[in-house]
Symmetry: C2
Subunit: 424 residues, 2 copies
């Protein structure tokens, strides 16, 4: 880790939303887990540094999944003829209950960690279940894999079936503190994140206790926001004294500001909610595949970008059925085209440069200087061998990246680095 | 081919749009390339017939791609930040021109035939390019593969760049007859189909000559209809005396009726066009991925089904980037959900049963008794080993089929039969 090394290939990364930086036969140098920048030719001072040459392969920053439900991986791509609230009751809750057993959790969580390891993502912000012991199992597995993650033990003390509902706000808070205490200082690459499931699942008492935990433990928070029309209506009924769904988090200090927060979906945010997101620097996890699968709708991403909001991409497994953020990029483009065609002709569809930024530097910002090869960014890199995709045609590196976004699968990921560590 | 044999496994097929037929540990028998039906237990008369046991694997009818541009496969997943007309000029026409060279055609067409062979499709209705000799190369390759296809040499004599435009209506017609003459009687599994590219590419003189060829050679026809708003406007300008886009085909006898026809897309058909489609029994090739990629819009498939129209699925490579009709099923569901949510709340989203029907029996009807395991249907079968997809969870066969639609790729296709011939 202390030594400087480089990797060489066809390098693509983002500095901003509008431009794709491409270095053909470029070299990214790594020192102590961080990038020293991208070079066309090694500077004199680094002339003797070892460089692994990936030749014609594409090299991109590791991708960031800002929203994924790890326990739902085992039942992804099932029951997708339902909308959110029915899907939770029928499909999700009975499956999540199985994680009461840490042995089951180990077997099931191994599958998603293995899948993520083989794919293009290097970091994720994960929901576990309400079971603290199993959440710890997930953290152990991520740590062992070398990937980086925030993992949250879920809190939920109402509007859930008895078999998947914490007994009281006190019990939920106590289990959370026990989980935090047990895992404190245990990991190098995994951190805890506060995880109230969503407002319908959390009583006011619970939210208040979580706020206290957040302050004591200095934790970021993740949850869901304005995903589905019935859900939003339900929140209005549950919290009649709030100005919007987001306000139901904000009144307990869990909507950005001092403590960073990620809100998944934001498909149907009213104007005042978007303003609050902007003012508080809340991160939006845009999950296009899930929003399609659960008939939630199409998020107004062009508007998010025009407003300068913090946006990244999420797989939302198992609302989404694939963990790959390459696929999320493709889906984000597709949905934005349909949104432009059918909802708002002034909302220009997302282009390649933009979705690539969202899936790398956009989401990476939640982790710090992550998601780019600029100097001082953490050295997460994915090497893609796309040679089978450019037969009979000459392609620029940018064209090859576009094709990799649409076509590549785990067969084409041939090397992966996280924080300077080579995972394979 | 003359011998009776069976294959055994977890069998799924459609008889109608509403129901999925499932035979767990069922056997489909094949005699002379046709199904004898599905049995739970072999009848006495067939007790000694050899049965290949695929055990727990799924067995489905071979899938039907009703609309695919074979020459575009090599540049799939490129330039998708454009709409149809720009995409044709910038992306498509220069690439199609390369098929003037039959040696290039052989190399390039081999890639799509190989891809289709490995995937879940068994039959396709294909556009080639305007080059008759290369169209024949494609027919040769499909024939050798054992797959079944209609292949069309494209006709286009206007509104195309000089390097990809036939000199005159006469020259186009002459080249078509030469191609038909050269390939007549040459193939067992490949048939020609008349292929005017779309109305903007075909002069009235050409359409008239194609009608004569259609009558002389008794040919079905394929083309494009009401895909993109600018395209439709253009057709209105080019054919001011027609009542709709479809009428511009119909006045030359190329819109169903006596000669079967497939029209791809039908995203923006006015009512009178839909009535004409119904009255003439025109087949609609629904291509959801392409309609998204090229920002064309969302086809009103629920309406097509309610009207009882003939509908199948198309990959529309390279408007679409994948040939797999499993993926087209997933995309058809997804787009129908967004259509329901944003365009027409009375248009219930498509469900699993419906898209499975469309990708098998719906499109298969264009080929005759194809796309089902019912008695007398041609024996096309695909065996999917989905074992890696049901770890840690018990699934019904229907659930496994849903998951295969969303998740499976060519790694999971472990055997394939077409007209009773085992391809692998």
């Amino acid at each position: 880790m202390d030594e400087i090394f480089g990797i060489k290939g066809q390098i693509c990364f983002s500095k901003d939303l509008e431009h794709l930086e491409i270095a053909e036969n470029g070299i990214v140098l790594c020192s102590r887990g961080k990038s020293l920048g991208v070079f066309e030719k090694l500077p004199e001072a680094y002339a003797h540094v070892p460089v692994k040459d990936y030749k014609d392969a594409l090299i991109i920053p590791g991708l960031i999944d800002l929203h994924v439900h790890a326990p739902q991986f085992v039942f992804r791509a099932l029951g997708l003829d339902m909308e959110l609230l029915e899907w939770l009751d029928v499909n999700t809750f009975p499956q999540e209950a199985k994680y009461a057993d840490p042995a089951y959790a180990k077997e099931a969580y191994s599958l998603i960690v293995e899948d993520m390891l083989k794919g293009p993502n290097t970091r994720a912000v994960m929901f576990a279940t309400l079971h603290g012991e199993s959440a710890e199992v997930l953290m152990d597995l991520v740590e062992q894999s070398g990937l980086v993650a925030y993992v949250g033990k879920v809190n939920m003390d109402r509007n859930a079936p008895d078999y998947l509902c914490e007994e009281s706000a006190e019990a939920s808070a106590k289990a959370t503190v026990a989980w935090l205490t047990r895992t404190k200082g245990k990991y190098q690459h995994v951190k805890p994140i506060l995880t109230p499931r969503f407002i319908p699942s959390c009583s006011d008492q619970l939210m208040q206790k979580l706020q206290e935990i957040q302050e004591t433990w200095d934790l970021p928070v993740q949850s869901h926001l304005s995903e589905n029309i019935s859900e939003i209506q339900w929140v209005h009924e549950l919290c009649p004294d709030t100005s919007c769904y987001g306000d139901a988090y904000a009144r307990y200090g869990m909507f950005g500001g001092r403590y960073p927060s990620i809100m998944a979906h934001c498909v149907h945010c009213p104007e005042n909610e978007l303003d609050m997101i902007k003012n508080n620097g809340v991160y939006i996890a845009h999950c296009p595949q899930s929003n399609t699968n659960l008939s939630s709708g199409m998020a107004p991403v062009r508007k998010f970008l025009d407003m300068g909001l913090n946006v990244g991409l999420g797989s939302d497994v198992a609302g989404g059925y694939t963990t790959s953020i390459l696929r999320a990029m493709a889906d984000a483009i597709g949905v934005s085209k349909l949104y432009w065609r059918t909802v708002d002709a002034s909302a220009k569809p997302l282009c390649l440069e933009e979705v690539f930024y969202l899936g790398t530097k956009g989401g990476g910002a939640f982790f710090g200087k992550v998601g780019s090869f600029e100097k001082d960014y953490e050295f997460d890199a994915v090497v893609i061998d796309d040679s089978q995709y450019h037969k009979c045609i000459d392609l620029s590196v940018k064209q090859r990246l576009e094709r990799a976004i649409y076509l590549s699968d785990d067969r084409h990921i041939c090397a992966k680095y996280v924080q300077g560590r080579q995972l394979f």
